[in-house]
Structures are given as structure tokens and as C-alpha cells.
């Protein structure tokens, strides 16, 4: 398998993931989300393989713009990502790729069945209304900035923890990173759904090597704890600022979840010290 397949898998995962957030048919959206998780696990499987074989790989990737107007085009957008991976795996003739190829062929067949769907996509129409309701300007401004900041941040954390799992020796620290990956995936999903409802869904910018290949795990965890405290404060301030019950409860919920992340990161810090 060539190095570029890792980047293609990364892009394929994001194509499916963000299509899952964009579509309005939520049952189909959840299936797409599950498929995106399969692609994420493929990527991690290949990462493990590359580490064992001493092959260089990178989490950097090209920018990805969401450009589709209906559910059929959205399925096409995802299908393109899956077919690119299939082409590269078929080229490689690596026996370890066969299980992945079976998964991808099935997912491609499911996507192909949805190419004719004509339901419109409103996830990036910039309506800035929450389910058709206007928010007051102050709440809206704070919310929009928060969602762009934090959706990137959660994606960044998924990448950093994924990479970090390959460089830590402790089993418990590995587990902690896995919990934090799962938590960040949940946060990213929650934020992205809100962005889709506001018509501002976007794939976060790429995370560069300079960011995810940290020099010191201790420093990374210490900074991470401070960032979680900052995120807590932002959520608390937003919960106070928004004049919308659903949003207030949601930001309070995220605020208290950060406590759990801080506890886990402190535990990881103690183990490595």
C-alpha cells in the first residue's frame, strides 16, 4: 500500500462524515455516520500497518469544500471518496487490503442507491436561522464564532489523539486517548449538526504536522488542560448569553462534560510524570 492511500482514506472519512451531518433524512444520515466510522477505523488500521512497516504517513490533507445541492449529489460526493480509496487499494494488490475492499464495495453500493435522491440540502445556505427562527444578533454572533472555533478544535483533537496513540507506551494513556477521541467525535457531531441547522456547515481546515506532532507529551497535556478550562468558560458564557432554552441547556451540558476531559488528562499527566 502506498503512502498516499492514508491521505485518501482520511479524505474519504471526512467526505462521509460531513455528508452525514448535511443530509436532512436523519435515518440515512445516521447510517452514513456509521459508514464514516468504518472508514475512520480503516484509516487507523492502515496507520498501524504503516508504523509496523516503517512507512511514512501524514494526517495533512487537501482542503475539502462541501458543494452539493441535494441528497443525490451528497451521495455522489461521498461515493467519489470511497471509489478513490478502492482504486488505490486495488492497485496495491496488498492481501491485507481485501477486508477493507469488501467493506468499501458494500458502502459504495449503498451510496449508489441514493444517487437519484432530489431532496434539497440546506446545510450550507447561510440562512443563520435555527430551524427557521431568528436568534438575537449578540447570541448569533457568539454562536457562529464558537461553532467554527470549536468544530476545528474537536477535529484537531481527534487527529492529535489518534497520532498520539501511536507514540505512547502506557496502555492506560492509550485508553484515555481513545475515550477523548470518542468524546471529541461526539462534540464534533453535536457542533456540526448545529452548524447544518444554521446553514454554515463546513469541513474544518487541515491540521498541520507542526500541530499534531507535538514535541512534549507533558506540555501537550498541560496546554490541553488549560484549553479545556478555556472551553468550559466559553460554554458557560455562551449559556448565559443565548436567549434560547435549547442552546442554553446544550452549552451547560458541554461545559460540564469538559470536567471529565480535564480529569482524564490530569490522570494521563500523572502517569507520564
Amino acid at each position: 500500500m502506498a503512502e498516499r492511500v492514508f491521505t485518501t482514506m482520511h479524505e474519504g472519512w471526512l467526505r462521509l462524515l460531513f455528508t452525514s451531518f448535511a443530509v436532512r433524512d436523519r435515518e440515512w444520515g445516521e447510517r452514513l455516520y456509521d459508514y464514516s466510522e468504518i472508514l475512520y477505523r480503516h484509516m487507523r488500521f492502515v496507520e498501524e500497518l504503516f508504523v509496523k512497516r516503517g512507512i511514512e504517513y501524514s494526517y495533512e490533507r487537501p482542503a475539502l469544500t462541501l458543494e452539493f445541492e441535494n441528497e443525490g449529489e451528497a451521495a455522489r460526493f461521498s461515493l467519489v471518496g470511497v471509489e478513490r480509496i478502492l482504486d488505490q487499494l486495488n492497485e496495491s494488490k496488498d492481501p491485507l487490503a481485501s477486508r477493507i475492499i469488501h467493506d468499501l464495495r458494500y458502502i459504495a453500493s449503498q451510496l449508489s442507491r441514493n444517487l437519484g435522491k432530489e431532496e434539497p440540502i440546506t446545510a450550507f445556505d447561510k440562512s443563520l436561522k435555527l430551524d427557521g427562527v431568528d436568534l438575537d444578533k449578540e447570541s448569533l454572533d457568539a454562536l457562529v464564532l464558537f461553532l467554527f472555533e470549536e468544530s476545528y478544535k474537536e477535529y484537531e483533537l481527534i487527529i492529535i489523539y489518534s497520532y498520539a496513540q501511536r507514540v505512547v507506551d502506557s496502555k492506560r494513556v492509550f485508553e484515555i486517548f481513545q475515550i477523548l477521541i470518542d468524546e471529541s467525535k461526539f462534540h464534533l457531531k453535536s457542533f456540526a449538526h448545529l452548524m447544518a441547522r444554521l446553514g454554515i456547515l463546513a469541513v474544518p481546515r487541515m491540521v498541520t504536522q507542526e500541530i499534531y506532532r507535538f514535541d512534549s507529551l507533558k506540555r501537550f497535556l498541560e496546554d490541553g488542560i488549560e484549553e479545556e478550562k478555556g472551553a468550559k468558560e466559553q460554554c458557560r458564557a455562551l449559556a448565559e448569553a443565548v436567549k434560547n432554552d435549547e442552546l442554553r441547556d446544550f452549552f451547560n451540558f458541554i461545559n460540564f462534560q469538559e470536567d471529565y476531559h480535564i480529569t482524564l488528562m490530569k490522570e494521563a499527566l500523572e502517569i507520564i510524570e
Binding site: L128, L145, A202, T208, I211, K229, E233
Partner: protein
């Protein structure tokens, strides 16, 4: 540009930051850094003769910095070196009128660009000149307040 257009433009830069990422074979690179919180911007330049042929940037920073980098690189691409210096100096003058947290973000981009120009000049005498880093003077007050809770 009215406030609605400005809002739409800002959101557009958040959704799709222009010129984000690395540049293949740049002939100058510069780093702008905020010593207060470690935020930084890296600018990559491809200079052809007297022209900024291509420019890209990366940011380990907040969304306001990404917006600033996106608008800045879009403006600078294709102008002459002299024009680019004038535009950047003009931008730094405007920084004085901005709220501190926005000033720090804009300055980060401008200083990264000036560092890249320093690198371009240094490479004329030393092809292996190290990538320079310029520190910003403005403090990102908002960040400090958030961290102190």
C-alpha cells in the same frame, strides 16, 4: 460594503479559508508568534522577480486569525514586493484602532509576512538562512481572561 455583506464575507472566509496550508517549494517562509499564548502563523511565499506569485499560510490560532490570514493572503497574492510592504504597513496602522484581541490576530499575520520577507532577503546571501520568527506586541486580552476564568 454594508454590514450584511461584511457578515456574509466573514462567514465565507470561515467556511472556506483562502490559501490555507503549505506551499510546495516556497522561496521564503516566516513565522509570527504570540509569546503570551503560543499562537502562531506561518507564511509561505513564492516570489518571482518582484512579484508575490503565490502565498499560503497556516495558523495555530483562533478563527479571527484564520479570517485575517485568509483576507490578507487573498489581497497580497499577485502584487509587487513594494505594494505588499505598503499594504501590510497600512494594515498594521489600522491595528492600532482595533480591539486588543483582534489587533493581536491581525498583527500575527502581518509579522509572519514581514518575517517571510526577512527570510527572502537573508537567503540572497545565505541560501540556508533559518526561518525567522517575529513576536507580536499586542496582547490577546480575551484569551487571558478566558484562561484565568
Amino acid at each position: 460594503m454594508d454590514s450584511k455583506e461584511l457578515y456574509d464575507t466573514t462567514i465565507d472566509h470561515m467556511i472556506n479559508p483562502r490559501n490555507y496550508g503549505k506551499l510546495e517549494s516556497p522561496n521564503a517562509v516566516g513565522i509570527g508568534k504570540n509569546p503570551q499564548n503560543g499562537e502562531m502563523v506561518i507564511i509561505y511565499l513564492k516570489i518571482d522577480g518582484n512579484m508575490i506569485e503565490n502565498i499560503r499560510f497556516q495558523a495555530k490560532a483562533c478563527m479571527t486569525t484564520v479570517i485575517a490570514g485568509s483576507i490578507f493572503t487573498e489581497t497580497i497574492k499577485g502584487v509587487t514586493l513594494e505594494e505588499s510592504k505598503e499594504l501590510t504597513s497600512l494594515m498594521l496602522k489600522k491595528v492600532e484602532m482595533m480591539p486588543p484581541e483582534e489587533a493581536a490576530c491581525t498583527e500575527l499575520v502581518a509579522e509572519a509576512f514581514f518575517a517571510a520577507l526577512d527570510h527572502y532577503e537573508a537567503k540572497k546571501t545565505d541560501p540556508h538562512a533559518p526561518v525567522p520568527t517575529r513576536m507580536i506586541a499586542n496582547r490577546c486580552i480575551e484569551e487571558t481572561e478566558v484562561k484565568n476564568g
